[in-house]
C-alpha cells in the first residue's frame, strides 16, 4: 500500500529514495496522498523550538564530554526530526523503549533532559523509572529493547487497553544496525503473532558505527516487515512533519488493535557514532556535506520563514531559549553527585541477598580501616 503511494511523492524529488515526505530539503511543503498533518501555527513553531533545543542540548552534552565531564556521549545530530517527529506523535498514554540515542524523544516526552546524563557521566546506569516516565531505560545491548517493547505491548493487549482512541501504543526505537540482531527479528515475530500494539521505529542513520547500511541489508529496511505479516513504511526522517504523520498514524493504528508497523526513518548520523568514534576513518566528507543540505532544522525554518510563521526575532529568541536550557543542563550535570562509597552494593536484588550484604559490610570495614589509618 504505502509503497506505491510513497513512490509518487518520491517522483517529485528525484534525488531522494522512495519515502513519505511532506517537507522538501529546501523547505517546500508537498502533499502525500495518504499522510498529512494539521498543525496549528503555534504547534509548528513549537516543533521548530523542539528541534533547535534538542540539537543545542545535544551539542552541550558533546561539549561536556570533550571537557571530561561525561565519559561518553552518543549524539543525535542530524536525527532531530526523526526523534521530534516521532516523539511528538506519541500520546500521553503511550510507552517508548529507546536505544542510547533517543535524547530528542525523551525531551518530547516532557522528561527533564538531565535524566540520562548520569549514565553518560558514569554516576549511574540510567536509574530512572521507565514506567513512571513512560520511557524505558536506555538500552545498550543492541536490539534487546525491541523484545521488551513487544512484551510490554503484549501486556497492553492482555490488559484490554487497545481498541479505541484511549488505547495504549508502544514504540520501540532501534537503528539500522540493530535490524541484523536475532532479537529484533524475534520481536517482529512475537509482535505479529500476538498482534501487539507496537510501532517499530528504525532510525536508519546509514551507519552502525563504521559499517554502512550495505553490511546489514541489500534491500530497503522497511521492506523487512511484510514477510513478518505487518506493514512497513519508509519516511523521510529529516522531515519532522512526515515523521510525525507516519508515526502518529501507525501508533493510532496499533492502539485501535490493528497490530504492528515498521517505520524506517531515513536519516543520517551527522556526527560521530559516539564521542569515542572517528568517522573520518570510514566515510568521506562529501557524503556528510550532501546530507548537510538535507538538514532537518533548516528546512523547517525555511518553510516557516517563507510562510511568515516565524521571523528573525523568533529564531533569535529560540536560539536564546535553547542556549539557556543548555546552560542549565551544563550546570546541573556538573553537580551530579558521584556514587556514594559502597552505593554499588545497593539494588542488586529486590529482596536483597545475604552474600551481597556481607560483601558490602566487608567493603565498609575495609574502607573504614583506611579512614582509621588516616586519622
Amino acid at each position: 500500500m504505502t509503497r506505491a503511494s510513497s513512490k509518487r511523492a518520491a517522483a517529485a524529488q528525484a534525488a531522494e529514495p522512495d519515502f513519505v515526505q511532506l517537507l522538501t530539503p529546501d523547505g517546500q511543503r508537498v502533499t502525500h496522498p495518504e499522510y498529512s498533518v494539521d498543525f496549528s501555527d503555534e504547534e509548528l513553531r513549537g516543533l521548530y523550538r523542539d528541534l533547535v533545543t534538542v540539537r543545542k542540548l545535544d551539542a552541550e552534552a558533546t561539549a561536556l564530554q570533550r571537557q571530561g565531564e561525561l565519559g561518553i556521549w552518543a549524539s543525535l545530530l542530524g536525527q532531530e526530526a526523526a526523534q521530534v517527529g516521532s516523539g511528538r506523535a506519541l500520546r500521553e498514554q503511550d510507552m517508548a523503549f529507546p536505544t542510547y540515542r533517543e535524547h530528542g524523544v525523551l525531551y518530547c516526552r516532557g522528561i527533564d533532559p538531565i535524566m540520562p546524563l548520569g549514565l553518560f557521566r558514569g554516576v549511574d546506569q540510567g536509574g530512572w523509572d521507565p514506567i513512571a516516565n513512560k520511557f524505558g531505560i536506555y538500552t545498550i545491548v543492541i536490539g534487546a529493547q525491541t523484545l521488551h517493547a513487544t512484551g510490554y505491548a503484549m501486556g497492553v493487549a492482555k490488559d484490554g487497553k487497545v481498541g479505541g482512541d484511549e488505547g495504549e501504543s508502544v514504540i520501540a526505537y532501534f537503528g539500522d544496525g540493530a535490524t541484523s540482531q536475532g532479537d529484533v527479528n524475534e520481536a517482529f515475530i512475537f509482535a505479529s503473532v500476538y498482534n501487539a500494539p507496537i510501532v517499530f521505529f528504525c532510525q536508519n542513520n546509514q551507519y552502525a558505527i563504521s559499517e554502512p547500511l550495505t553490511r546489514q541489508t541489500r534491500v530497503p529496511l522497511y521492506q523487512r516487515a511484510s514477510g513478518f505479516g505487518f506493514p512497513g513504511i519508509r519516511v523521510d526522517g529529516n522531515d519532522v512533519l512526515a515523521t510525525f504523520a507516519v508515526t502518529r498514524a501507525a501508533l493510532d493504528n496499533a492502539r485501535h488493535g490493528n497490530g504492528p508497523t515498521l517505520i524506517e526513518a531515513y536519516t543520517y548520523r551527522m556526527g560521530a557514532h559516539t564521542t569515542s568514534d572517528d568517522p573520518t576513518r570510514y566515510r568521506v566528507a562529501s557524503e556528510v556535506e550532501e546530507w548537510q543540505a538535507k538538514d532537518p532544522i533548516l528546512r523547517l525554518r525555511k518553510y516557516l520563514e517563507s510562510t511568515g510563521l516565524i521571523d528573525e526575532a523568533f529564531v533569535t529568541e529560540v536560539d536564546a531559549y535553547a542556549r539557556e536550557e543548555a546552560v542549565k543542563l551544563r550546570e546541573r550535570v556538573l553537580t551530579l553527585p558521584d556514587p556514594e562509597p559502597g552505593e554499588m552494593f545497593k539494588h542488586v536484588y529486590p529482596n536483597g541477598s545475604p552474600e551481597v550484604d556481607q560483601q558490602a559490610a566487608e567493603f565498609a570495614a575495609y574502607h573504614a580501616s583506611f579512614e582509621g589509618a588516616h586519622s
Binding site: G127, W128, I137, A144, L147, H148, G155, D183, V193, K346
Partner: protein, 328 residues
C-alpha cells in the same frame, strides 16, 4: 492435607495455586498449552486459565525471555518454561544482560519477578542438549537467584515461593525425578513454608558432610544409607538454593564432621563444587580433616546416552569419595 504426588505433579499443583493466588501470574513457553509441556508440568493449566495466561510462544527462547521482561515491566509475573536445559542458551543474553541487571540499572525502580523454569540434568537416556546442568552459568551471574528442588514437597512449595518473590529466579527442576513420588503437605501458607533460600539438613551424621541439590540429592541419600551399613554416618544437606548459597548449616556440619563431599552432575571445572569447596575451606580451615572433594560430571560434553551412566555421579562414586576423604 498430605498427598502422595510425583515431583512433576507437585510442580503442576504449585503452578496452579500460584495462578489462582495472583491473576498477574502467566506462563510462557513452547508446547505448554494443549500439550501441557513435554513433561506435562503445565498439564491442564491452559484449559483452566485460558491461553491469555498459559501462552504457547513462538519457538524462540530469546524472544520468550525478552518479551517476559516487557510483560514484567507491564506488571505481569511471567513464569517461563525452557523446554530442556540445553535450549536456554539462545536466551542467555536476555537473562544475563536484562533479567539480571534491570533492577540494578534502574536503581531499584524496576522489579522483574520472572521465574525461568529449567528441567535439568541427565539420566533419561536422551540425545544431545537434553541432559545438561547449566546452573553455574547462572549462579555466577549477579542479579539472578538460582534454586533447585529435589523432591515433591519442595517442588510444590519452592515454585510458589519463587513466583511470589520479586527477585528474578532461575528454577532448576531435576527432570529425571519428575516421576518420583513423595508426600506433600499442601496445607499451610507460603509464608510458613520452609524458606526458599535455605539449605536443609536431610540426614544428620557425624563422619562426613555430603552436599547435593536437585537430582543428586537422591544419590547422596542412598550413599548415606549405604555408608551407614559400613558404620559411617553421613550428614546429607540439600542445598536447595545455589545463589545465594545458604552456608550456615553447611559450615556447622563441616565443623562437626571435618569432611565434605560435593555432588553434582555439572562439569567439575567451575561447577558449584568449586565455590562450595572454596568457601568451606575458607570458613572451616582448621576443622577440615581432608580437602573438600567433588564428585561431579567430567569436563567433557555430556556424552551419548549409552555412556551417561559412566558420566553421572552415582552411589559408588560418592562412597569412593567418602573413602578417599577418610584416607587423607
Amino acid at each position: 492435607m498430605s498427598e502422595t504426588l510425583t515431583l512433576g505433579k507437585a510442580l503442576n499443583l504449585g503452578l496452579r495455586r500460584a495462578m489462582e493466588d495472583d491473576s498477574k501470574v502467566i506462563l510462557m513457553g513452547e508446547d505448554i498449552g494443549k500439550l501441557g509441556g513435554v513433561f506435562r508440568i503445565t498439564d491442564g493449566l491452559q484449559k483452566d486459565f485460558g491461553d491469555e495466561r498459559v501462552i504457547d510462544t513462538p519457538l524462540a527462547e530469546s524472544g520468550i525471555v525478552g518479551t517476559a521482561v516487557g510483560l514484567a515491566l507491564r506488571g505481569y509475573r511471567p513464569v517461563i518454561e525452557i523446554q530442556f536445559d540445553g535450549f536456554v542458551y539462545p536466551a542467555y543474553d536476555q537473562i544475563v544482560c536484562q533479567v539480571a541487571k534491570m533492577h540494578y540499572r534502574s536503581r531499584g525502580k524496576v522489579k522483574l519477578p520472572i521465574v525461568i523454569r529449567i528441567p535439568f540434568g541427565g539420566g533419561i537416556g536422551a540425545v544431545e542438549h537434553h541432559s545438561e546442568s547449566p546452573e553455574a552459568y547462572f549462579a555466577h551471574t549477579a542479579g539472578l537467584k538460582v534454586v533447585a528442588c529435589s523432591n515433591p514437597s519442595d517442588a510444590y512449595w519452592m515454585i510458589q515461593q519463587a513466583i511470589a518473590s520479586d527477585d528474578p529466579i532461575v528454577f532448576f527442576e531435576p527432570k529425571r525425578r519428575y516421576w518420583e513420588k513423595g508426600e506433600v503437605d499442601t496445607s499451610g501458607s507460603l509464608e510458613s513454608a520452609f524458606p526458599l533460600h535455605s539449605s536443609k539438613v536431610l540426614t544428620s551424621g557425624t563422619d562426613a558432610t555430603v552436599l547435593a541439590y536437585g537430582p543428586m540429592v537422591r544419590v547422596a541419600l542412598d550413599a548415606a544409607t549405604a555408608a551407614a551399613e559400613d558404620g559411617r554416618k553421613l550428614e546429607v544437606i540439600d542445598l536447595r538454593t545455589l545463589s545465594p548459597l545458604d552456608m550456615g548449616a553447611v559450615f556447622d556440619s563441616v565443623r562437626k564432621t571435618g569432611r565434605a563431599i560435593v555432588v553434582h552432575e555439572a562439569p567439575h571445572n567451575l561447577g558449584m563444587g568449586a565455590e562450595l569447596a572454596a568457601r568451606i575451606t575458607e570458613e572451616c580451615f582448621y576443622s577440615l580433616e581432608a580437602p573438600v572433594l567433588r564428585v561431579a560430571g567430567y569436563d567433557i560434553p555430556y556424552p551419548a546416552a549409552r555412556a551417561e551412566e559412566e558420566y553421572l555421579p552415582d552411589l559408588d562414586r560418592v562412597l569412593d569419595a567418602v573413602d578417599r576423604s577418610f584416607g587423607w
